[in-house]
Subunit: 127 residues, 2 copies
DNA sequence: ATCACACTTCGAGTGCACTCCAAGTCAAGA
DNA sequence: TCTTGACTTGGAGTGCACTCGAAGTGTGAT
């Protein structure tokens, strides 16, 4: 079972443009196969890999690090320690970022609280 | 007590470049006052506002929405309901984004787990 | 057969948020 | 007095990640 670029876009949540861009930019493990008329065919292995790429991208990994990770995978299983290190470093940054955002969100919540209590006050006064 | 742009940069974690950029772009409530030789002087009210701006920015609010928020504040207290709506909408997006990132982080953690168990296996075999 | 349409490539364009540069001003210290 | 260095301005440049356009080709329905 293989899929056209439109189907792959559908299943990955990316656009066809972005899928071509990722391929050009070396984010995929290997170039996608083409059918007899030159069109891309994505198999399950590609979709699985692209899913991992979207996890990395959605958590803020830069394109060049995803490319680096793909290169490591391409280079064979001797690079597994390097891949693990790369993922660990990324994980640490993501956890830090989550904490930072959560903290800033708290400040925004306090601001919201201020506006709400002021709105409340006005409601009472005008009642 | 007022501060030079270098001190303001220090206290806000932004660069002097960024502080000037924010001012030019209308993210501050009013232009920063200048001393007799034309240099910016930041008072506590400015620093407090910039702190709020960094909370909004750090949680992913686009510059144009921060500007919109600043415009509402400038327009007086009749806009408090609008400000509250803006903050609520932002809060919702941030919470969603946190959930999304957390979920993707889980997938990355599972990937890390796979590499770790493989590393573990190799360690056992080579022992 | 013709038509619409999804696809191809290469390269250019976009939007965002800074980030930097050049040229000039001013104040304080040696 | 001279120099150093932090500042000023307007505008240009950068990096990232797409996003789109133009021109062309192959496929499937009418």
């Amino acid at each position: 079972m293989s899929h056209s670029i439109a189907e792959a876009a559908d299943r990955t949540g990316l656009t066809a443009h972005t899928l071509r861009y990722y391929e050009r930019d070396g984010l995929l493990l290997r170039p996608v196969e083409r059918d007899s008329s030159g069109r891309r065919r994505y198999d399950q292995a590609h979709l699985d890999w692209i899913h991992l790429v979207t996890c990395l991208r959605a958590t803020g990994m830069p394109i060049r690090d995803v490319r680096r990770y793909a290169e490591l995978v391409r280079s064979g299983e001797t690079t597994e320690a390097d891949r693990l290190a790369l993922l660990h470093a990324h994980r640490r940054r993501v956890v830090e970022e989550l904490a930072r955002v959560t903290e800033h969100l708290g400040a925004i919540d306090r601001k919201i609280g201020i506006y709400e209590s002021r709105a409340e006050e006005r409601a009472v006064v005008s009642a």
